[in-house]
Amino acid sequence: MTATTAVPPAAGRFRSPRARLQAYAIRHRSATIVVSMALITVAMIILPQVPPLSLIQRQSSWFDTFANAGVFILLAMGLNVVVGLAGLLDLGYAAFFAIGAYTYAYSNSPFSQQDLPFLPMLVVGAAVAAVFGIALGAPTLRLRGDYLAIMTLGFGEIVPIVFLNLDKWTEGTNGIGGIFRPEPLPIIGEFSALSPFAYYILMVGIVTVAMILLYRMQDSRIGRAWNAIREDELAAAANGINTVTTKLLAFAIGATTAGFAGVFNASKLTIVSPEQFLFAVSFSVLAMVILGGMGNIWGVAAGAFIVYLIQVVVLKGLNSMVEGLGIPVLDKINFVDYQYLLFGLALVFMMLLRPEGLFPSQRRRRELHIADELAGPIDEPGVIGALGEAPGSADEFGEAAGEDVPGRDR
């Protein structure tokens, strides 16, 4: 059993219950995910009925919120594969989300006069997004990472423009509306705008499956290859990893996940239009991944959930709360307008102060702080003295030493 090697060697009879639980969770990861997701699902059914949450909105509205949050959790988990695991920066992630959504819109709307079943389309939408991911990634992933960032940024910008401009096929700004809702599923019931419960349960199912698959992937040979590439691409290539294919796989999986999210979102909103997929979406998802903790799957999911709730519940709540107080200047402020400023600041400060995110993955944390560790002792005066009259000072020598830090680039 290779999985057992993941248990910390210090483990023994004297482990605390927490350590034991952790060891168990690592050994039986899928079961743990299923159990914890089930617990969370139940909690999220019960919690909206008790005071703090029930005061904000009705239970069905909470289901709606949770289902929408699920879309962002999926997006964040998918982007995490690209950014967190493989270490590639994808700034046009919303494009794949858009492609998944439009695929579903074509298969299920009065506009295209099609009415294909929902669940198979979920897979088709994801597959179409993956094809686009590969088509974009294949030429660019051979280049260095910075170029990928700008290419994806361009792609994310272009996809809505194309949907906007091809109005003969996409209805332009209005978008494709009146998308049919999914047919009722056994047990979870009917999908409708008034009772979002079915969407909520379906979303929980999708997130659970996605999480299990992503965790298994992370722990597999591919996951280790991603780690290796992210930390030192040259060394990874020297050890026989086909870096282009491996990166492409990460990119395709990211796109696939976004495709799933896109299909789900299109069926839930029953309309797709270009302005749903602007750069702000890619940016929000990136902020979720960074805040949650790059590379830590559940951390990223939690980050997405928190950020989404801040976006749609907390800021609005703050608005109505402040209005009630009647303080002259404050009640004119619409906090929702400041959300992206807030995320921008959060992104910059996280990068400066805690790049590993709120719920860091251990590996990522070491990687991101290794420069500090190596540069640390060199800055001590004794070592500088040895440099004699070298121009510049402590700073420069520290930098020179930092140059060879693994994972800095390439």
């Binding site: 660019t140 280049l143 170029y147 700008i150 272009i158 401009n165 992206y340 400023l341 510049g392 930098e399």
Partner: protein, 337 residues
Amino acid sequence: MTAIAVAAVAVYLIVLWMALFLFGGRTIDNAFPEALQQTVNALSIGAIYALIALGYTMVYGIIELINFAHGDIFMLGAFMSVVFIGGITGHNEAVTDIPLLIILLLGALLFSMPIIGLLNAGIERAVYRPLRHAPRLAPLITAVGVSFILQNVALTIAGSGDRKAPQIFPLEWQIPVGGAQISILSIFIFLLSMVLMIALQTFVSRTRLGRAMRATAQDQEASALMGVDANQTIALTFMIGGVLAAAAGVVWGLRFGFVRFDLGFNSGLKAFTAAVLGGIGNITGAVLGGFIIGFIENFSAALGYSRWSEFLVFVILTLVLIFRPTGILGQAAGDRA
């Protein structure tokens, strides 16, 4: 060099003339003046992209960072010019009094350029410098964050709609040439950016600080050992990039008559494409790329496909990165990893 540039512009003029005749439904006679006017416009818009692209290419050349916030620096430059001309001097209409116009234009440049230059250097000091040795992803993500902060600061202060930029340079000043009306503003923009680019080229190739910049870009460690202060040089690079972007912002306002908080996003993407097209890290390349992008955008607009210009630029970016990632003037050693 100059001869090649003039020849290239002439070729563009003829191509556009023919294109307007063949695909634009004009007659051969009235296609020419239009083509001539459009060519001059292309030179002015290309000059704006070139000025922005210089900031991308210089920063990338020295610290290998795609400064995503650079487009927004340009946007803030345009806003600063509006603040000076419309806000401080109170001129909102065309100024036909030539000495006054010169004073106003100089004032706008001298107001906007130092502020934006210092802002860009300040951003470098505050957020990029601490991350200079962090893993590559960190400064990139930070740059995206900074871009969003700048955009949203502008959004908060100026609102989400177009803000009128005072077009103090009279648009009706035109030179009639063979039936065409050549806009003097376009010529002014072109000449101004030429002056700035020549000044930059002289600075980089002739002065001590310019040499320090080139040395730091080539090998930061070695130049540090030779006594070049890397931090100061990098800050200087950001400052120059900001100054040029601010100049681009000032002329943008004169030319297009509006500013908006998200101006920097599209223009930034195009200018970056220009920098890549010319060969990132190469100053002449950025100028060349800027003009090429300007011509391409102008060409699609002249034929009535202006809403596809972004798409076209993206396709070019893709093709360049696939087939010649080092750009037109980039070295063969290049940046492939």
